[in-house]
């Protein structure tokens, strides 16, 4: 992936960070986006320490005003984006709760981060990809998008929405050379998983680094 420009949301932790490290080690220039500046600075330093090219942008993908701030800075730093990975997501308040106990505002916030944010960012980044006739847009999904797990309502509904958004986008961009991938990484040993299921047996969960390796291979395959 030498000289490929990659933007990863949710890039300071978990799978997003593992993807940043993996793709940078494959030669890509990466921009990581996350809300927390300290964790973001650590992530960027870790990639640079291994010789990778990385930059961080502290922003919240759930906010409309943040979108051009993200795309403008990212493109100014590394050039037109070839691959965007929508990895940022929120569960909403934890412990998870039934839909009837979910505040309306909490559902709106989950949809803003997990559906509307990726939509807005795609809207801004995919146009130039279409004109160049190449690009890859990756939506990180979850089995909660298809299985109706009790208490996972806000997150599951948002992931189902994002999946369908991605499928329609893929159909609309079919002849353009821009690929849209929806990838369910499975259950991983991450901070987010621990917040959702604190009692899970960590030994049964996948290592995000191994998952990032296989997603990296899928992205390379999609681009070839």
């Amino acid at each position: 992936m030498k000289d490929i420009n990659v933007l990863i949301t949710g890039g300071s932790k978990g799978l997003g960070l593992a993807l940043g490290k993996e793709l940078a080690s494959r030669g890509a220039r990466v921009v990581l986006v996350a809300r927390g500046k300290d964790a973001l600075d650590d992530a960027v330093s870790a990639i640079r320490a291994t010789g990778g090219v990385a930059h961080g942008i502290a922003a919240d993908v759930g906010e409309k005003e943040a979108i051009h701030r993200i795309s403008g800075q990212a493109v100014a730093l590394i050039g037109p984006i070839d691959v965007v990975i929508h990895d940022a997501s929120t569960l909403g308040p934890t412990p998870l709760r039934p839909l009837l106990d979910t505040a309306c505002e909490d559902l709106e916030r989950v949809l803003a981060v997990n559906v509307v944010g990726p939509f807005r960012l795609t809207k801004v980044l995919a146009g130039p990809m279409v004109l160049r006739g190449r690009g890859t847009i990756v939506f990180i999904s979850s089995d909660a998008a298809v299985s109706a797990y009790p208490t996972w309502g806000a997150y599951g509904a948002s992931k189902a929405g994002a999946d369908h958004l991605a499928r329609i986008l893929g159909a609309e961009l079919q002849a353009t050379g821009v690929r849209v991938l929806v990838i369910d990484p499975g259950e991983m040993d991450t901070e987010m998983h621990a917040a959702a299921m604190p009692d899970a047996d960590r030994a049964s969960l996948a290592d995000p680094r191994a998952v990032a390796r296989s997603i990296g291979a899928r992205i390379e395959e999609a681009r070839s």
Binding site: H55, I57, A58, K64, E65, I67, H68, R69, S71, G72, Q73, V75, A76, L77, G79, P80, V124, G127, P128, V130, L131
Partner: protein, 339 residues
């Protein structure tokens, strides 16, 4: 501006009108921008400026706490340096020519924007308001400051402040433009798809469209300043292909004309370049055969450039027709296609 009213807010592209000006017959036709595909032919090439618009205006604190508005005249370069125009008190709601000048700053003076600091490293002989700034931190920090504090350049005729969302084309890529490449603001993906289905090819240049007005006579007379552009090899090839098959190269906006003709005046090569070319009635166009442009009144530098496409009499008739027909002018206004 005589005869024209400005569009004072962003409009849906379905509302944007298109005045078609046929050079050969002198005919004027009132259309909608949505019908652009019907006006072009299979084999034509439409060239877009894919520069995204920067939040090029931000407030800074000068020596002695003076409040200064900085408007970038170009994108920040890889060394963290940039040409900028300084504005004094007042806001965007005041016409630029009515605003008092900023304090005169010498080389070495510093501007503070939160935690970022920029030093004046050059002052133009044209006007003390036209300066070269060097950001003292990292380029990353300068960009973060710009996107946190900066706003798109605003216009006194606007009803409300524009957001960055309002000044981006549907195909904006590298953030190089300090004001929107506005002729393309109304183009939607549905329209671009329709053009491709009709057999019209699309190509891009990235041109760092500069400031349209500063309120400083000396600077305004010199506009447009030198602007950088990047033309991909694919576009050079598409132009050659188009002319070979007898198609027309149509520029979306004056910035595309400047990028292509400025280059052709030297050598039609791909890559990054800077042009100082000023086009007008006596210019000979080497590359571009037609233009989709916003509505510009006589006296504006954009209008001057249109003189390269049509004779003064036809242009005057077109402008008069547009004014009488209540076409809206300026950045968010209606459009004109000269073929």
């Amino acid at each position: 501006m005589i005869g024209f009213h400005p569009a004072t807010a962003p409009r849906p592209s379905t509302d944007v009108r298109l005045l078609c000006v046929d050079r050969a017959s002198g005919r004027l036709d009132d259309r909608r921008l949505e019908s652009l595909a019907e006006q072009l032919r299979s084999g034509d090439l439409l060239v877009l400026n894919d520069a995204a618009t920067l939040p090029a205006s931000f407030l800074a604190e000068g020596p002695g706490g003076a409040r200064i508005e900085v408007r970038l005249a170009e994108p920040i370069d890889s060394d963290g340096r940039v040409q900028a125009v300084l504005f004094g008190s007042g806001t965007w709601r005041d016409k630029t020519e009515d605003r008092p000048p900023p304090p005169v700053l010498a080389v070495g003076a510093r501007l503070t924007m939160g935690t970022e600091v920029a030093e004046i490293v050059g002052v133009s002989t044209l006007s003390p308001r036209l300066v070269r700034l060097a950001f003292l931190g990292t380029r990353e920090g300068a960009l973060a400051m710009l996107y946190a504090r900066g706003r798109p350049v605003q216009y006194a005729y606007l009803a409300d402040e524009l957001a960055l969302w309002d000044v981006q084309t549907a195909y904006a890529a590298r953030p190089w433009a300090v004001e929107a490449p506005s002729a393309g603001l109304g183009l939607t993906w549905s329209m671009l798809e329709m053009l491709e289905r009709r057999g019209v090819e699309l190509a891009t240049v990235t041109h760092a469209a500069g400031l349209s007005s500063t309120g400083d006579d000396a600077i305004d007379r010199a506009l447009p300043l030198a602007e950088r552009s990047d033309v991909p090899q694919e576009t050079i090839d598409a132009i050659a292909r188009t002319h070979r098959r007898g198609g027309r190269v149509i520029a979306v906006g004056t910035s595309v004309v400047r990028a292509l003709e400025g280059r052709a005046a030297v050598a039609m090569k791909a890559g990054a370049d800077v042009t100082e070319l000023r086009l007008g009635p006596s210019s000979r166009l080497r590359i571009v055969d037609g233009i989709l442009t916003g509505m510009h009144a006589p006296g504006e530098s954009h209008h001057q450039l249109l003189g390269a496409f049509a004779d003064a009499q036809l242009l005057e008739r077109a402008v008069q027709h547009a004014a009488e027909g209540a076409y809206l002018a300026h950045e968010l206004g209606d459009t004109m296609l000269i073929l």
